[in-house]
């Protein structure tokens, strides 16, 4: 009996242990199948994700291009705790240490930020292409907004490519039809610079043709946003450059199109300049009449920290109201540029001969909207006085100023601490209407319509002049001697250019734009040389700065990408 019992148990065990062939077929946890996502409802999800990449930036890879547009243009110092505090951004500032592989730069734990920026732009592009591909499979009947959404997506793709183009010049270009294999076979030098511009312009053209005149969702571009961006692309493309980035021709037909596009925009009365310059940089006026294209930031939105303005996360000063990290510090040269002469006009060639002294100099009011200066109220809060001792971090290295535009008042609802950093839900304006108007003025000057350009520049200056309502101490006295006036005439094209270029600097300072202007105009080398010559006497760390023409106009293609492409990508000249 016992033996039988034992034997039968043994047999049962053996039988059981070889059962269950399905044991290895387990369902994957927490992910969705491909097919389940191709429904009209889910397409919206892919489109939103393509937008979301706009707000997925970070101080190491900001979509407000301050490290690339301001640090490289003599408008701002890196700031922070000294040159070693993000040495790659320091390299951007002095140029001489920019190299294709910066992964060993301190603190190397951050990785190669040049590579990271490249990567993030392509994440945006891939999200767009993914959504476009899925959209293509739907009929208009199943998804009535098909064409409109396609236009939005192509606008976004244009945007992500545009930033890549101005940062790296030669980039691999492909659209949603490209397979992974196609992408792997696409070199960054397959298309000429001009052909790349055409591709980018094509997306914006499509968007301009197919977007509605008005969008109820403020975050979506409309027809005029697309026309504005198209104008921007054409403006950049109009300055035709040789291998050394010398401007060899200015394409008038492109500029004519720029003018006509912007005229359409003006004619639509879709946008206008805000009454006070300040309103562009205050949360309360978000998505205002001057905001052409903005990144929508949000707070208390159920995400871990809120989808805050991560690009400005390092910009706050050191006082108890903030605490970290005092990056993006306006340069002395920029501050001096706000000086005005007795006529209330900029001092084109001599502004930097002496440093600005608020007691003796008159200034453009935009100075106090842009730059926080010692012993003046901070961000229109008359009770908060900005001081060198308590608000700056390394005045011995980087001087006494702070940047205001991206910062918000600590009392703002939109302000949020995410220790050790802080930021706000203030939108990041990527294209302002005044920027658009100045593109037109720029085109007009190159097309020799000086007076029409002057009217635009004066309109901008007039607004600046009337933007002093917030620039006073608690007792009502103004923060500085403001003396700003309009141009009565442009005697010649050279003067008009100077006026335009100065106006762009003053109007758009610290908004991550200037370096790209300098490269477009082909004057990066001489501008930076002149800047370094005087600035390095004031800021010892700039002694190593040196700009090499034909090289430093663009960042190197990240070494890692060259390796990953198995050498298919070609390095930019000079590196």
């Amino acid at each position: 009996m016992k033996r039988i019992a034992i034997l039968s148990i043994s047999i049962i065990i053996l039988a059981l242990s070889f059962g269950c062939s399905d044991f290895l077929n387990v369902k994957p946890q927490g992910i969705i199948g491909d097919a389940e996502l191709s429904t009209p409802e889910n397409i919206d999800g892919f489109i939103i994700a393509a937008y979301a990449q706009l707000a997925n930036d970070h101080y190491t890879v900001p979509n407000l291009l301050w490290p690339y547009g301001d640090l490289r243009a003599g408008d701002a110092y890196k700031g922070g705790d000294g040159p070693a505090d993000i040495a790659i951004f320091h390299a951007f500032e002095i140029f001489s240490t920019i190299q294709p592989d910066m992964s060993a730069y301190s603190p190397s734990v951050l990785g190669d930020l040049n590579n990271k920026k490249w990567e993030r732009q392509f994440v945006g592009i891939s999200r767009v292409n993914l959504a476009l591909n899925r959209l293509k499979d739907l009929t208009v009947k199943a998804y009535p907004k098909k064409l409109e959404r396609e236009a939005e997506l192509r606008f976004l793709r244009g945007h992500y490519y545009f930033d890549l183009k101005i940062l790296y010049n030669r980039i691999p270009y492909f659209d949603e039809t490209a397979t992974v294999a196609d992408i792997l076979a696409t070199s960054n030098v397959a298309l000429t610079s001009s052909a790349l511009w055409d591709k980018i312009a094509e997306d914006f053209r499509f968007a301009a043709d197919n977007l509605p005149e008005l969008q109820t969702d403020k975050g979506r571009p409309d027809k005029y946003t697309a026309k504005a961006y198209l104008a921007k692309v054409l403006l950049y493309q109009a300055y035709e450059q040789d291998e050394n980035y010398n401007v060899i021709n200015i394409n008038h037909s492109k500029l004519t199109e720029v003018v006509s596009l912007i005229d359409e925009i003006i004619g639509s009365n879709h946008y206008k300049l805000t009454d006070d310059f300040a309103e562009n940089f205050l949360c309360e006026y978000e998505n205002g009449p001057e905001a052409v294209w903005s990144i929508q930031r949000s707070i208390n939105d159920g995400t871990l920290t809120g989808n805050l303005d991560f690009s400005a996360m390092l910009s706050a000063p050191m006082s108890n109201e903030y605490g970290c990290c005092w990056f993006h510090i306006p340069s002395q040269n920029l501050v001096n540029a706000f000086k005005t002469d007795a006529d209330g006009l900029p001092m084109f060639d001599v502004f930097n001969n002496t440093d600005l002294d608020l007691n003796t100099n008159t200034v453009d009011p935009r100075l106090n909207h842009t730059v926080a200066m010692p012993n003046l109220p901070w961000k229109y809060e008359t009770q908060l006085i900005y001081t060198v001792k308590d608000w700056t971090r390394r005045p011995d290295i980087y001087g006494n100023f702070s940047s205001l535009k991206e910062n918000v008042s600590p009392y703002c609802e939109c302000f949020k601490r995410i220790p050790p950093f802080m930021s706000s839900s203030k939108n990041t304006i990527l294209i302002r209407y005044s920027d658009v108007l100045l593109w037109k003025a720029e085109a007009l000057i190159e097309l020799d319509h000086l007076d029409e350009a002057r009217i635009i520049i004066n309109e901008i200056r007039q607004r600046a002049k009337s933007s002093t309502g917030r620039l006073h101490y608690a007792d009502g006295t103004p923060l500085a001697n403001y003396n700003i006036s309009t141009y009565s005439s442009f005697p010649n094209k050279e003067f008009a250019r100077k006026a335009l270029r100065m106006e762009r600097r003053l109007e758009l300072a610290e908004e991550g734009i200037r370096f790209f202007d300098l490269v477009r105009w082909g004057i990066a080398k001489e501008t930076m040389d002149e800047y370094f010559q005087t600035e390095k006497l004031k800021r010892a760390y700039l002694v190593d700065a040196a700009f090499v023409k034909g090289k430093h106009e663009y960042l190197p293609i990240p070494q890692q990408q060259i390796i990953l492409s198995k050498g298919l990508y070609k390095q930019n000249p000079g590196y």
Binding site: P83, R127, N320
Partner: protein, 1054 residues
């Protein structure tokens, strides 16, 4: 009623029997054998010797004086006497009822059983490389983590650990074999686990065996590529009730500490750095009185403001932060084990309490382990049922010790711990954003995690026919982690948090394993063989969630539960699931006890791989030749010796990849995963968000979408490691024994995430197979054991070498080297295949620092190097192109130790015992990231710096190797370079123990079998290379330092 009566009758009957037995040597078919067991050399009685009747479970154990008595059913039988460290003896019983036995010391325990995977084998029959940990060497160590305690004792086993009370330890067997998980597989009482060992009570462990080579590990094929550690817990012996109590109390404290500047020195160094740069030393916290002459600067005095902060709350201080956060602390450990054996059932119960108050204030770890195991013999011993069950419960204060230690080094000394009104001191303007370490402790001391782990198995063993055993075991290993922690509001200098946040985390994970085996043995003349066949099923599951809220009116944890929070409700969760199904078999064959052959085959299926490649086959063969048994040797060598040659080859598998690696992944990422730091590493790819405020309404629920984040790969297959092992085991003159092993370990089809060019977009990573890594090494183990009268001497030494080399890497792989977790992330670089091939995967890549520029002529003579200057680091122009740039990088150090060794010495004299253990590594480089703080004023200008800055280069101090002080890092000296590479060799006196055992005769007067007390010191002496400038080369960066521990211990057995 009738039944009860008959029971009573029976009891009476048995009682009578017992009485009769006690008074006379006669019984009804029962015979009593009595006697004394003594040590053959000393003649002393041996307590605790196991005695059993051969072929049965009948047995007993000797008393304190070595006497015993055993009842046996038949006169004609054999008694087996066995005792650890002595040769097992068999005695035929014929007539005599008194049998005295004297036992001889055995040098190597050839008869000792070794658990080699589902079965046991005798050590003499082993053909693979198996190391047995001598647990008696480590039994006096505090019982925190068994892995920590065996550090340095097994050649080829590299353990790294830190001093945290929760004591993690990481282990690598025979080098880094793969780019993914390098942890070995643990088998605890037959239940496989990859979880940590620190939940296990070290005192519950009976044996630890390390299966190093493929031949021995391959039976665990599925996950054995990184080696297998087999742990068997204690169970009852054949004996009467036995009660053991062991306890120790330890005091621990720092022996090494970092040396930051004090307030005045910090001020002086800052001034010097400024004047070196010809910059006016302006600083919000230091006012300098100096001559203002940059050519001949002289500092007269430093004055301080009344308050260092704008709010006037902090007076200048001179805080020694390290002293504020550390303390000598107490570690306690209590264990009680009760066991009872018998021929029908055995059981053991143990309970242990381990309590470690760490050397960082308020850190605290405690663990309670309860363990129960029993077994029952039924149906004439042909059916055995049993179980092993452990429940461990632990909790630890959630203080991030490495943050605390780091900030205690870098927080400026002028910052007071508290403000004048008792608030928190903290960084003031002009300083960097580092937390007050005391606040980090005090604000977190109420937070703990709780962790419990039920672990164990039930089994059934059948012997249906002679020599056939069938065993079925069902095991579980589940973990439950729970934490509720409040992050308080604070104002600490300019660091301010206005919101409090309560976070709740729960993580449930683990697996069950069901294994079934059948073994069959036979002996025919000179042939003997045994067969093993088996199957195993494992299902692993994990689920987790976390939730948080803000806005708590009270920060008391008695109040602060999720529901008590007012705003910002957030939550997250996830899970994973995987299964393994395996079939395996093994044949051991031996001819004439001289030629040994073993063959293993295992076939494993894993749900992690695509349908086509689910199964992997893992074969192994090994052979042994007991050459000393051969006549041609035996006849010519007169002294006693034993020699066995071993050779083995086998393949093991690895499947430690993400459960989702084969799938295309589409994900919703409502909140980006690492919003604040946004720092992807090679192992962590935080997902970017998919939600966007498209309507521009600034708050509230956002629309969200999907991303495609991973390209699936249905072709994934097992990574495999083929290992060849050659070994020799020997014994000479009965007192010297040892083994030598040589191995070649080749890992191929390595599983890794390949990176495609970023143009491919978000899904540019894909798990693939490819790449070969080779590890080779030599391992020696030598033991000398001698007994001279009352003195026993036991010396064990071990030594291992290791060489790692990347043999081949397929296209598109960037290796983030070094792989070693010892190296801080900032020194890791993504390296192209063409660069890393031929080098160790643990090589550091960077610039070569070639001393300091002494004068302008040297500066001018050097290649173009932005920022070069007198007193600055000169980087080598390796490619001689006249420019220092990224092309001048090379391999600058390897963090694999070339040599690891350990030496244990035990001396026993009468009732005293002394043991001593030294351990060391050499030929290792460490990346000392702390140097960015200790040597420079420029790399972290707003923090405190090390005292080494006082000895920086200057024209007056030209022999210094520390670069000239500057506040402007113009020369980019924080770059990864040889400046930070230091020799990490060390030799440590790990522990020294002195014990005394009460003579058994005295002890027995108090009904005690054994009493022992001991004193012990751990980590007392460290000898390190002069080139190492940190505190502990074993722990070079921000890890919790390893303390010195002084212990008093007591052992009692009843």
């Amino acid at each position: 009623m009738k039944e009860i009566n008959s029971l009573r009758l029976k009891l009476r009957h048995y009682a009578l029997l017992l009485i009769l037995n006690a008074f006379a040597n006669i019984s009804f078919a029962q015979y009593v054998i009595k006697g004394t067991v003594t040590d053959a050399t000393t003649g002393y009685g041996l307590p605790g010797v196991n005695i059993f009747l051969k072929g049965t479970n009948i047995g007993t154990i000797t008393n304190v004086d070595g006497t015993y008595s055993i009842e046996i059913p038949a006169k004609k039988s054999v008694l087996v006497y066995s005792f650890v460290g002595y040769k097992t003896k068999e005695v035929d019983i014929t007539q005599s009822s008194t049998i005295d036995v004297s036992m001889e010391v055995e040098v190597i325990q050839l008869e000792a059983s070794v658990v080699v995977g589902y079965t046991t084998e005798k050590k003499k029959d082993l053909t693979g490389s198996v190391a047995i940990v001598n647990l008696s060497d480590v039994k006096d160590l505090p019982a925190d983590n068994i892995i920590k305690n065996i550090q340095g004792r097994i050649p080829g086993l590299f353990v790294t650990t830190d001093g945290s009370p929760g004591s993690g330890a990481r282990i690598t067997i025979r080098g880094t074999g793969t780019i993914n998980n390098n942890d070995p597989l643990f088998i605890i009482d037959g239940v496989p686990t990859k979880s940590g060992m620190h939940e296990l009570n070290a005192k519950d462990i009976e044996s630890v065996q390390v299966l190093k080579d493929a031949a021995s590990a391959s039976i665990y094929g599925s996950r054995a590529a990184n080696g297998v550690i087999v742990i068997t817990t204690k169970s009852a012996k054949l004996e009467k009730t036995r009660i053991e109590f062991a306890s120790n109390w330890s005091l621990q404290q720092y022996t090494s500490k970092l040396d930051p500047l004090n307030t005045e020195e910090r001020g002086r160094v800052y001034w010097q750095a400024c004047v070196n740069d010809r910059l006016s030393p302006t600083n919000p916290i230091y006012n300098y009185v100096w001559n203002g002459d940059f050519n001949h600067p002289i500092l007269a005095s430093i004055t301080y403001p009344e308050y260092i902060d704008p709010n006037k709350t902090m007076k200048p201080a001179d805080t020694r932060w390290f002293d504020e956060i550390s303390r000598p602390s107490v570690l306690q450990n209590y264990n009680l084990t009760v066991s009872k054996g018998g021929d029908k059932s055995r059981s053991l119960f143990s309970i242990g309490w381990y309590d470690n108050k760490g050397i960082i204030k308020e850190t605290h770890f405690s663990r309670v382990n309860a363990r129960f195991n029993s077994s029952f013999n039924l149906l004439n011993n042909r059916l055995t049922l049993g179980e092993n069950f452990t429940m461990s419960f632990q909790q630890e204060v959630l203080i991030n010790a490495s943050d605390v230690l780091f900030t205690s080094l870098v927080q400026q000394p002028i910052v007071p711990v508290h403000t004048e009104d008792g608030g928190w001191g903290g960084p003031a303007p002009g300083m960097t954003d580092r937390q007050n370490p005391v606040r980090l402790i005090e604000d977190n001391k109420q937070n703990r995690y709780k962790y419990s782990r039920p672990f164990g198995n039930v089994y059934l063993q059948l012997d249906p026919i002679k020599n056939l055993t069938i065993k079925s075991s069902f095991g579980i290993d589940y973990s439950l982690y729970y934490a509720r922690a409040i992050q308080k509001k604070y104002v600490s200098g300019f660091l301010v948090e206005n919101n409090n946040t309560l976070t709740n985390n729960m993580n449930y994970y683990g697996n069950y394993v069901w294994s079934n085996t059948a073994t069959y043995k036979f002996n025919i003349k000179k042939h003997s063989a045994d067969f093993l066949l088996g199957t195993e099923q494992i299902k692993y599951k994990s689920e987790w969630y976390s939730a948080s809220r803000q806005g708590y009116v009270s920060e008391d944890l008695n109040f602060a539960y999720l529901s008590s929070g007012a705003k910002n409700q957030l939550n997250a969760g996830g899970g994973s699931l995987s299964t393994l199904l395996s079939y395996f078999g093994k044949v051991n064959y031996s001819y004439n006890d001289r030629y040994l052959l073993s063959f293993t085959l295992r076939r494993d299926g894993s749900s992690r791989f695509g349908k086509n490649n689910r199964y992997g086959n893992f074969p192994a063969v090994s052979a042994g030749w007991r050459i000393s048994e051969e006549k041609f040797l035996k006849d010519h060598i007169s002294f006693p010796f034993y020699l066995k040659l071993r050779a083995g080859w086998g393949v093991n598998g690895n499947q430690e990849i993400n459960d989702l690696a084969i799938y295309n992944i589409y994900q919703i990422v409502y909140s980006k995963e690492d919003p604040i730091w946004d720092n992807p590493t090679s192992t962590y790819h935080p997902r970017l968000g998919t939600a966007y405020d498209i309507q521009g309404i600034n708050q509230g629920q956002l629309p969200s979408g999907y991303i495609y984040s991973q390209i699936g790969n249905n072709d994934l297959k097992w990574e495999s490691t083929a290992q060849t092992n050659l070994g020799i085991d020997f014994t000479l003159f009965n007192d010297l024994s040892g083994s030598i092993d040589y191995f070649i370990k080749n890992t191929k089809d390595i599983l890794y995430y390949r990176t495609l060019p970023s143009a491919v977009g978000e899904a540019n990573i894909q798990m693939v197979n490819g790449g070969n890594i080779r590890n080779t090494g030599l391992e020696f183990m030598l033991n000398y054991r001698k007994k001279i009268n009352d003195l026993t001497l036991d010396i064990t030494g071990n030594l291992a070498t290791l060489k790692n080399k990347v043999e081949y890497i397929p296209e598109n792989l960037l290796i983030n080297a070094p792989l070693s977790y010892i190296v801080p992330n900032e020194a890791k670089t993504e390296l192209d295949r063409s660069i890393i091939t031929g080098h160790s995967v643990n090589s550091i890549w960077g610039y070569v620092a070639d001393g300091l520029f002494q004068n302008q002529a040297e500066v001018d003579a050097h290649a173009e190097q932005t920022g070069k200057g007198i007193g600055r680091i000169r980087y080598k122009d390796l490619n001689n192109d006249g420019v220092i740039n990224e092309k001048d990088q090379t391999f600058i150090g390897t963090v694999d130790p070339k040599l690891t060794y350990g030496l244990n010495l035990d001396v026993q004299y009468k009732y005293f015992d002394l043991s001593l253990f030294v351990q060391g590594v050499s030929g290792i480089s460490v990346y000392n990231g702390y140097k960015t703080y200790t040597d420079f004023a420029s790399l972290w200008p707003g923090t405190n710096w090390g005292r080494r800055t006082l000895h920086a280069w200057s024209p007056e101090n030209p022999h210094s190797t520390i670069p000239k002080l500057t506040i402007l890092d113009r020369n980019n000296e924080g770059r990864v370079s040889t400046y930070f590479i230091e020799p990490g060799s060390y030799l440590k006196l790990r522990n020294i123990t002195l014990g005394y055992e009460l003579p058994p005769k005295v002890a027995s007067r108090y009904q005690i079998q054994q009493v022992r007390v001991y004193l012990q010191g751990q980590n007392l002496i460290t000898i390190k290379n002069k080139g190492f400038t940190g505190t502990d080369p074993e722990n070079p960066n921000y890890a919790y330092p390893i303390p010195a521990i002084y212990t008093l211990g007591l052992e009692l057995t009843f």
